[in-house]
Amino acid sequence: MSAADEPRPARVPADARSWTARLRTRAEGAMPPERLLPDRQPSYVASWIYVFGALTIAALLLIVASGLILGLKGPAWWHVTAIGRFFNGIHLWGVELFFFTMVVHLWGKFFMGAWRGGRSLTWVAGAVTFLISIAAAFTGYLSQQNFDAQWISTQAKDGLNSVGIGAFFNVTNFGQMYTFHVILLPVAVVLLTAWHVLLVRRHGVVPPYVRQLAAEAPARPSEERA
């Protein structure tokens, strides 16, 4: 502990009226440290497919880091400097790797039936993250300030206009698309990813399907949750 750290107070019974204490008690109950960062996993967690979730998070971190650099220098920087072009390349390939690893992760989880055992919300959070990620990447293509951005915006406007979305989400408005791309959608993707990971940690990794003979036995009511 450094000299600047405040001494840790002695553990005393929580004040039932304290909002802070109630929030802490609830958070500790829902997510004790050994559940949040476990160093052991069920023996069935032994396949390369499990790595793709971590690879997706790694790609997201790379996208955010390279995007921060591009954003700090402004949208025109990468067109006129070699170092800017390099970081734009990292950002672009980070996105391609992000989607590749996320789709492998998604198919893996689909074929594991990863929503079983009360894990439906974990699937929903992941699926929504995938859809919001598509919107985030799309606004990135619109924010490039080059011919790709011109062509994609003039083509995409028809689909969005046809269902009324174009009335408030104008793909030919660079300022609006840039705001969506550098703030709103990345924050949504990061928060949804965090929620998804917390749900995975809360409910654990889905166990294998029970084998045929065992499955044919009458299931206990608690096993029928899906």
Partner: protein, 312 residues
């Protein structure tokens, strides 16, 4: 209620050591190395954007033809409908008229915004002002006759570099107005005029982009880069880059009937994709679909060690 065969009872078996933080650290290193390698090998595409000045210099006849269509209201943008104008009702999904219901939020009057207002910014040209006044005060039928005559003359026009040789018989004030607009555009004045409105700072490129999209320059460049709708459109990217491959299903519907030839293709494809997206999110709750992983037992491959241990 789910089938008992889809149940996932709490795990009562053995556990193994698993270092999540180390796994993530290695993943970050691997992804960063891969992205760096791909960047060094392939960089990223960056085709320069088109400008109206470039369009007016490279394709002056197409520029004039498009500007004339904007003036007489026969261009794609002029007849688009919401959110740009009331010229059409827009696309529908059966009885649902979302495009029309959301209204005109980015109003564009193509004759004023693309031709008359930019021409009015040209200073010290009383002859041009007189021609504009002659055009704007003429009856609609007369204006239509002038623009029709000029559009017909443009069909036989030839470009000599940045100049256009046209015989504008019967086109009245339209010919000198369009000659001035072409000069303004070639001198980069129209790029600025379409972007500037009532305030200094600008980020909305709706007007210049829609104007250029009404012409041929963008689509010619897109065709050369395999970006047209029948070339799987915007999921592609300039050059030999993967582009937005995750949009393959959305783009796929535009390639097949009944969407391919429907007047409401965009609305129908969007409705279908929203439905499919909802189904994707709700897979855990859809009977039958949620049992597919049990019917196609790829999980036996994923958990082969577990099943092997169980069998032994």
């Amino acid at each position: 209620m789910a089938s008992p065969r889809d149940a996932a009872p709490p795990w009562r078996g053995p556990y193994r050591s698993y270092d999540l933080v180390k796994e993530l650290a290695i993943c970050i290193a691997v992804v960063a190395a891969l992205a760096t390698l791909l960047t060094i090998l392939f960089s990223s595409p960056d085709e320069k954007p088109s400008t109206i000045a470039q369009w007016a210099r490279v394709q002056p006849v197409d520029f004039l033809t498009t500007a004339t269509a904007e003036l007489d209201g026969s261009s794609d943008t002029a007849g688009y409908g919401p959110p740009y104008n009331h010229a059409a009702t827009g696309q529908v999904i059966g009885p649902i008229h979302l495009q029309s219901w959301l209204g005109v939020s980015h109003p564009i009057d193509t004759a004023v915004d693309y031709v008359l207002a930019p021409l009015a910014t040209i200073p010290n040209d009383p002859a041009l002002r007189a021609q504009i006044a002659r055009y704007t005060t003429a009856p609609p039928a007369q204006r239509r006759a002038w623009t029709d005559a000029y559009a017909k003359a443009l069909e036989r026009a030839a470009a000599h570099g940045t100049r256009v040789a046209v015989s504008p018989a019967g086109s009245g004030p339209v010919a000198p107005m369009m000659a001035s607009l072409l000069s303004l555009a070639q001198a980069r004045g129209l790029d600025g005029a379409l972007l500037t409105s009532r305030q200094f700072y600008q980020t909305d490129y709706t007007k210049p982009l829609l104007f250029m999209a009404d012409g041929s320059l963008l689509s010619d460049r897109a065709e050369a880069q395999h970006l047209l709708g029948d070339q799987w459109g915007m999921m592609n990217e300039t050059g030999s880059y993967p582009g937005q491959v995750w949009l393959w299903l959305y783009t796929f519907w535009y390639q097949v009937e009944p969407f391919k030839s429907s007047d409401n293709a965009d609305a129908l494809v969007w409705a279908l994709m929203m439905l499919l997206s909802l189904a994707f999110v709700c897979i855990p709750f859809i009977p039958g679909v949620r049992s597919i992983p049990r019917w196609i037992p790829l999980h036996r491959l994923i958990w082969r060690e577990h099943y092997r241990a169980q069998a032994s």
